[in-house]
Amino acid sequence: MWKILRQIARNGIRTEPAPQADPDFQSETQRIHQDILDILGQALTIREVDAGSCNGCELEIHAVNNPYYNLEGFGIKFVASPRHADMLLVTGPVSRNMAMALKRTYDAMPAPKLVVAIGDCGRDGGIFGESYACLGGVAKVIPVDLTIPGCPPEPIEILKGILTAVRYGQKKSPR
């Protein structure tokens, strides 16, 4: 046990200062947290769906969950069920074999259903394009609120995008 504690102490806290959400509002951790509370009245929960990515985007979504970005510190959490989720993060060009599962996941979410498409693939199919096997982008299947381009987008971009979508969602939500 002491070895574990020593390792934790030795490594210290790695969390870095939060990025600023786009486009032009300045916010600190506190403020972002407040935004999330105001908009959703609770912590933000995210369900991730891989709709045919190369797995590159997933690696970066994993990275967002590492201690450097301290996602849970903002009150943002990845959850196992779409029924618990406020936001859907979708990667991949949407393979036709995944289209139905993606649609059903979306349908299972409670409103206001924020959707963020990740990566060049999520935007328009990326290098895989549109074909007998791919639909060519998340918006072909479900309404998308925000796209985070990149191949794959870096964790900091994903984090910024999530925060921006929360802001953007505020505009479209009824309150």
Binding site: Q7, I8, R96, A133
Partner: protein
């Protein structure tokens, strides 16, 4: 290279790893598979191509076999109205899914195969549409079709029930469907259904110039982007008979080892997490993040995507990859080595963790051999294949690689192999960074390159990545810059069926742990 008892006319391809290609007829197709199995060889990949040209040419089924002295690539042309070829899944069981995928994509079948269910075609396109046929337009789309049910094998008996999982899983992972038949919490049987990520990559290749194909290859499975890009470039360079400068292969190997370390670090953390030891996840994820950030700084991309290109590498020739940059690589290896030693001793001495790891998800050496297990997972089950050791190309030849080797075949053994491979890769990276040859790191291919065949084999972190390539003249008349066929093979083809065995008799809650210990690719074999 030859096969005992068979008269084959094999021709060597100019590749850094010995490789010969030849034709067989239907009788020799099965005889060759048997001969390979008997002399301890392995099937690496099986795929089909459409080489019809007007009235001439045929559909062709191909197999690549790994032999002690290199690789044999056999083509069986299907003559006349023949659309079938002899089934070899009785000899190499994992060939079954590759044969089914080939049937979906090309409409050529393994005759009398026991399992003829579709594999990639879930109903999203018509059964009579064979996307890899020449006459099929790559832009053809079929909207509004609904997917079909899949006839899973049912287990009957008192108290047996099914648990259906996926394609969308609980965590941030790739999609696939697992059908468990269980009694209580004990797994009697697992049946996998994959193909959800099928993106039509092989058809897409045919729309790209050969000089651009490495970008698509690098996106077959993003966690192995370096390995795929290298295997593709090796295949193209072998078709073009292009020699790359020494510095280029050193830098390629340097990136390959960095990719190996990154993946093993991440998975060791995740393994801790799946055994309720989130401390491990936090620690390893920090190490991985530092690792990826240095990739970005020095190579320009966190996963080094698109950094291996035909003819060499596309990384800075001087700063940031100059002497001080290389010194940072060495320093980072030293730091990570210290941390990994520390974490390893914590993992080893953690009773709760070891209790979950030891004897869980066991694949004993005999079973591993019989089922054709490959890659690092095989090295945890008493099979010592590693291309870096068996056919060392530069710089592995100069540096020597010590492959990890364990026999117990459980989650604990796979974790041990990963720890040892990290340490060996750290040693290699240090040597590569300090001994990097000077000079050019890229040759530009001529305007007119020869058409023909090429192949590449690379030991990626998960196992052997194989690329078979056929190059022709482009529509603009440009020689040798059109991809007629590109088949990328992921080692997960071999290992997915083994996972079905590894979980038998284990409890359902151990499945995520067992699954993670292999961490197989979905995107890679789904293509």
């Amino acid at each position: 290279m030859h096969l005992p008892g068979l008269k084959l006319d094999l021709k060597g391809l100019p590749a850094p790893i010995p490789l010969s290609r030849g034709m067989v007829d239907a009788a020799d197709w099965s005889a060759a598979a048997l001969a390979v199995a008997e002399c301890g060889g392995r099937l690496v990949a099986l795929w089909g191509s459409d080489r019809r040209q007007g009235e001439t040419g045929n559909f062709v089924i191909s197999a690549a076999y790994a032999m002690q002295d290199g690789m044999i690539w056999l083509d069986l042309p299907l003559t006349g109205a023949q659309s079938g070829y002899p089934d070899i899944s009785g000899i190499f069981s994992f060939a079954g899914r590759m044969q089914r995928a080939t049937a979906d994509l090309l409409g050529i079948h393994a005759e009398n195969a026991a399992d003829t269910r579709p594999w990639l075609n879930h109903g999203a396109w018509p059964v009579e549409h064979f996307p890899l046929r020449r006459e099929v337009n790559g832009a053809a789309c079929f909207d509004g079709r609904s997917l079909k049910d899949y006839p899973f094998v049912r287990v009957e008996g008192d108290g047996v029930h099914e648990i259906a999982v996926g394609p969308v899983h609980a965590g941030i992972i790739e999609p696939g469907h697992f059908r468990f038949s269980v009694v209580g919490e004990k797994v009697l049987r697992l049946e996998e259904r994959l193909g959800y990520k099928h993106k039509g990559i092989e058809k897409r290749f045919e729309q790209l110039p050969a000089s651009e194909g490495h970008r698509l290859a690098g996106r077959v499975s993003g966690d192995s982007t370096v390995a795929y890009a290298w295997a593709y470039c090796m295949a193209l360079e072998s078709a073009w008979n292009l020699q790359i400068p020494a510095r280029a292969s050193w830098l390629r190997a340097l990136m390959l080892e960095r990719e190996r370390v990154a993946n093993h670090l991440g998975d060791l953390g995740a393994l801790g997490n799946d055994a309720a030891f989130s401390f491990g996840l936090a620690q390893f994820m920090c190490l991985k993040e530092d690792w990826l950030r240095l990739n970005k700084e020095l190579f320009g991309h966190r996963f080094m995507m698109d950094k291996i290109i035909p003819g060499g590498v596309d990384v800075p020739l001087d700063a940031p990859l100059d002497a001080p940059g290389l010194a940072r690589l060495v320093a980072q290896c030293e730091l990570v080595e210290r941390e990994v030693h520390q974490l390893r001793s914590i993992y080893d001495n953690h009773a709760g963790l070891q209790d979950r790891f030891i004897t869980t998800g066991r694949v004993v050496p005999e079973l591993a051999k019989q089922l054709g297990l490959t890659g690092f997972a095989a090295r945890a089950s008493g099979i010592s294949h590693d291309l870096r050791v068996d056919f060392p190309i530069s710089p592995y030849r100069e540096l020597g690689v010590k492959a990890a080797f364990h026999r117990s075949g459980d989650v604990a053994a796979r974790a041990k192999v990963r720890f040892e491979e990290i340490l060996e890769s750290l040693r290699l990276i240090r040597r590569m960074a300090s001994g990097l040859p000077d000079g050019e790191q890229r040759v530009n291919p001529d305007k007119e390159m020869p058409a023909g065949f090429g192949a590449g084999r690379i030991e990626g972190w998960r196992g052997e990545i194989f690329v078979a390539l056929e190059i022709g003249a482009s529509d603009q008349g440009e020689q040798g810059n059109r991809i007629l066929r590109c088949h990328c093979h992921d080692p997960s083809w071999q290992n997915w069926p083994v996972l079905e065995y590894a979980v038998i008799g284990n409890i359902v809650p151990d499945f995520p742990l067992i699954n993670k210990s292999f961490n197989l690719s979905y995107s890679g074999p789904d293509l």
